[in-house]
Structure formats: C-alpha cells, structure tokens
C-alpha cells in the first residue's frame, strides 16, 4: 500500500456541503434494545458519535457490539429504542448509504466475480462515485484486479472489504474488525488510509479485538459487556480510573519500599499508583539513597487492556 497520500487525495469537506456549518451527531443511539427471542443481546444502549470522530465500540465476546452495529448499519431492526444515522433511520438505505461506507466483519463477496468487478458493483450500488483503479491502489490490490475473489487470500479479501467501505470517500465509515487476518504491513497501511480519510473529515466507527489499535487511534471508546455500555470516554478518561503499575525485585535484606506495595508470588514487588511519575521518582530516589538495585524494574501506565479486563470481571449491575 504505497503512496497513500497521493492515492487518497484531497476532497472537499462533505459535512459542510451536506449539512451546513454546524452538523449534529453523525450517529445517535438512544435506549437501544436488541433481543433474540427472550435473550437480550443489547440492553438500553445510548451513545452518540460526533462528526470527524473515531469512536471505538469494544466489548467482550457476546457483549452485543455486533448486534448494536448491525442496527446502526440498518441490517437489523431495533427491538426498541431509536437509532439515527445522519438524522435518518439507518434502514433508509437510499438516504444513508451514499454517505456511509461499511466494512463488514465477514467478506460477502461472490467467489466468481473478480476483484475489480466486485468493487465496481458495490461501489456503483452505494450511490457514491470514485475510480475503481484508485481505490484498488489504496488497498494495494491493483495487481489482483482481474483475479476472482475465490483465489484471494483471507487478508486480500479483508482489503477488498476495506476498499468497498472507502469507495467514494464517504462521510461515515463503519469498520467491523477491520484488521483481523491482516499482516502487520497491511494493518499499518489500513490505518494510514484511515488517518487520511479522517483528515478529510470522515467519521469512523470501529470495532476491534486489537485493543492497542483502539488505544492508539480512537478519540473515544465505548466498552460493552453483557449487552450494556459499561464505560465510555477518551482512552485517558477510561484508564484514569485504574492504577498504573510499578514492578521490580529487591535484593535479600533490603528495607521495605516507601510507598504502599504488594508482594507477588516469587517475591516481586508491585506498586499500584494513580501518580505514576511522582511515585516512580520517589522510588528511584529512595533506591539511590539506599544504594539498591531495583532489578527487573518496569513502570507501565494503565492500558485499555486493563480496563477491559476489569470490566470483564465486574458483575453487571441490575437494571431497574
């Protein structure tokens, strides 16, 4: 995926063209419930996605994020609640699809069509206009243009999937686990293309199992567990609620550290802190004064993984 800058190109800000100077939320989800028979897959979900934002909807397996996303995509009706995309019902495909690119979690291409035929078909039906060769260039599938989909690797199919989403540079792009099955180079290239779309004003909704991607790229994150939105905010807002960790080992006979700590199995010392920089400096000063070596020293800020694990192990509160 070389020369992305040139290939993505510059386009006018469609938000201004379409909606005026002060557009409302791109996506509005209010009290959404999705049930399958008696099973509540999504319970009272509410959130908004603002123009230009990259919103990551994350969750444990079975958390309900795919069901929620399918309602937003217009593929599934809500059992109750209200969902609006660009102020319209997402099932109004004629109104929403020309402004909205969808990268599905599963491929959904016909094995007997070629890459170019598939992209041309989906592109034309989307109501957006673009050049097939340009889009194939962005996802590095130019050389596969005349190859049948049946002969593509899993990663190449994901890239074709991405190509259908970014065809016509839509204002909103939904990426459902976009990097699953991609090698590291393709992942980097995909995020580079997403960055460029965002520079042009596109709004992105992302689900992913790679939390480091959400941590790195998302403006805001919604964390779902057992059908409910358990936490929402920027990555720093979410991680602020949990302590960072300092870990090291002390030599035999060393004095106790000056900060409250716990001892792990094997003797390693663990300090959990909400003031990582201050406590780390304090600890290093103490070690220097006492001429101690803190072997295996590591100091890590709270990561999204930690928040995710915390949510996964906390029981869901009863809803009234």
């Amino acid at each position: 995926m070389e020369q992305l800058t040139e290939k993505v190109g510059a386009v006018p800000d469609r938000r201004l063209l379409a909606g005026g100077a002060s557009p409302g939320p791109v996506i509005e989800v209010e009290a959404l419930n999705v049930t399958y028979g008696d099973f509540p897959a999504v319970k009272d979900l509410s959130f908004q996605v603002q123009p230009g934002e990259l919103y990551a909807l994350l969750g444990t397996n079975g958390a309900g994020k795919t069901s929620a996303l399918e309602v937003i995509e217009g593929h599934r009706p809500a059992s109750s609640g209200r969902v609006r995309v660009f102020g319209q019902s997402p099932t109004d495909r004629a109104a929403t699809r020309p402004r909205m690119g969808i990268m599905l979690q599963e491929s959904g291409f016909s094995a007997d069509l070629t890459v170019a035929e598939s992209l041309r078909l989906i592109g034309r039906l989307s109501g957006r206009s673009d050049r097939v060769d340009r889009v194939l260039g962005v996802v590095d599938l130019t050389r596969k243009a005349d190859t049948r989909v049946a002969q593509l690797s899993g990663g190449e199919r994901r890239r074709l999937d991405f190509a259908t989403a970014l065809y016509g540079r839509p204002e909103l792009i939904i990426l459902d686990e976009p990097t699953t099955g991609l090698d590291i180079q393709s992942r980097d290239a995909l995020w580079e293309a997403v960055d460029q779309l965002r520079e042009q004003g596109s709004t992105i909704v992302l689900t992913t199992h790679y939390l480091e991607e959400a941590q790195q790229y998302a403006d805001r994150v919604g964390l779902m567990h057992q059908g409910t939105l358990r936490s929402q905010g920027t990555v720093s807002e979410l991680t602020r609620a949990l302590p960072a960790a300092i870990e090291f080992s002390l030599p035999q006979g060393a004095p106790a550290p000056p900060i409250p700590f716990a001892t792990r199995d094997g003797g390693a010392v663990l300090i959990e802190t909400f003031e990582l920089q201050r406590d780390l400096k304090h600890l290093l000063d103490w070690a220097e004064v006492n001429m101690l070596e803190l072997s295996g020293l590591s100091a890590a800020p709270t990561r999204l993984d930690d928040v995710f694990r915390d949510i996964g192990t906390t029981p869901v509160p009863d809803t009234p």
Binding site: R97, S107, G108, F109, L121
Partner: protein, 239 residues
C-alpha cells in the same frame, strides 16, 4: 437493479455446475421431447408436448436456478453485502432473478419456436404467450418462496424436488388424461391450469373465454407463493 443483474449473469456463466444443470440440461430434455414428439402427442396431444417443453424450462431453468442462486448468494453473505449499499430490497431481488428470467424466456422462445416449425404451429400464439408468462410467474414466485427454506446450493437439490417433480407430474396427468374428470383438483394443483392453458392455446380445442378463466388458478399460485416468500425469505443465513 441492472448492475446486480449484470454481475449475476457473469456469475451464472462462470459457474459450470449451474450452467450445466440449469441451462444446458433443460434444453437437452427439450430436444428429447421434440425428437420424440410423435410418441408424446399420441399419448396426449401436440399441446401436451408444448406444455411439457414450457414447464421443463420453467421448472429446471427458472425455478431450480432461482432457488440455487439465491441460496448461494445468501450463504456467501452476498445478499448482506448488497444490502450494505443503497439498493432497495426489491431492486436487489429483481436484479438477482432478472438474468435467469431472461435466459428462461429466450430458451422457451427458442424451444417452442423449433417445436412449432417441426411439429406444427400453435392455434393461438397470443394465448400461448399469456399461458407461458403466467406459468413462469408462478414458478418464479415459488422459487422465491422455496429459497426461503433453502440453506445452501446443495440443500436446493432437496428442497426443489417436491415442486419440480410435482409440477411435471401434474402437467403429465393433465396433458395425458385431460380435465374431463377431477377438473377442479387438476386445475387447482400447481401447473395444472397452466398446462391446460398451453394445451388449449396449441390445439385450439377450447373457447378463448374458458381458457382465460384458467389464468385464475395460476395467478392464485403466484399470490400464494409471494405471500409465502414474504414470510419465509431470509437475507442472511440462520445463526
């Protein structure tokens, strides 16, 4: 609709199995019926041969291929992909079935044309056209309904059997024994009235008014099948 139809046409011609079972075999069977037209017309009439030809195309090209193609497109999530675009559901369905409808009409026109040349012209060509179109509408609607209960192209080999064999059996029953006895039952069964209509159009044996009344049961099946399809058709595989 037309971009979908174009892609569907490409897919049909690139899939050897569909090409052979859905497009070549019905023509081969038709050639057999035309070659042995004297035998079949002795059992029934020339109109009976015409009905067999029309329903062979309607069953094996139109009905079976529609069910197989829709099941395959759903199984591969191609239908879901199409619904991710701005195309409406009716436009998607119309685009998907348009090529096979077109191919079926070309086939039946060719086959009946050849039969008319070698076996004798139909008495009422306009009525024959109406009869064939009504029969095709019925088989297309039944195809949409059957696709709703068909999980995969392989499954289609089983789910299409009852209607396929049933329609051919009813056509043979009506064509060979006529409708002097059990008329109501024979006309009510799928393919019965359509067969009698083709026989009347080819042989010219019945007044036009009586023949046109036979459209009612066939169009009734269209309505029943569309009602079933609207309840049973699924856009995504069952989870």
């Amino acid at each position: 609709m037309f971009p979908i139809a174009r892609s569907e046409l490409i897919q049909l011609f690139r899939n050897r199995a569909v090409l052979i079972s859905g497009l070549i075999m019905p023509v081969a069977a038709s050639i057999y019926f035309i070659y042995n037209r004297d035998v079949f017309s002795r059992i029934g009439s020339l109109g009976f041969v015409g009905a067999l030809l029309a329903l062979t195309i309607a069953v094996f090209t139109l009905y079976a291929t529609t069910v197989t193609a829709l099941a395959a497109r759903r199984q591969s999530l191609f239908l879901k992909r199409l619904r991710s675009t701005a195309a409406s559901d009716p436009a998607i369905l119309a685009g998907l079935v348009l090529p096979v409808v077109g191919i079926s009409l070309v086939q039946v026109s060719f086959v009946l044309g050849v039969f008319a040349v070698v076996g004798g012209r139909p008495a009422d060509t306009a009525l024959l056209v109406v009869a064939v179109l009504a029969g095709f509408a019925m088989m297309l609607a039944l195809g949409l309904a059957t696709a709703g209960i068909t999980n995969s192209p392989e499954h289609a080999q089983v789910t299409t059997l009852p209607v396929s064999l049933g329609v051919i059996a009813v056509a043979s029953w009506v064509g060979i024994t006529g409708t002097e006895s059990l008329a109501a039952l024979k006309r009510a069964l799928p393919g019965g009235a359509a067969t009698e209509l083709v026989v009347n159009a080819w042989d010219g044996a019945a007044p036009l008014g009586d023949s046109l009344l036979l459209l009612a049961p066939t169009l009734g099946w269209v309505i029943v099948a569309i009602a079933l399809a609207s309840r049973m058709f699924r856009w995504e595989p069952r989870r």
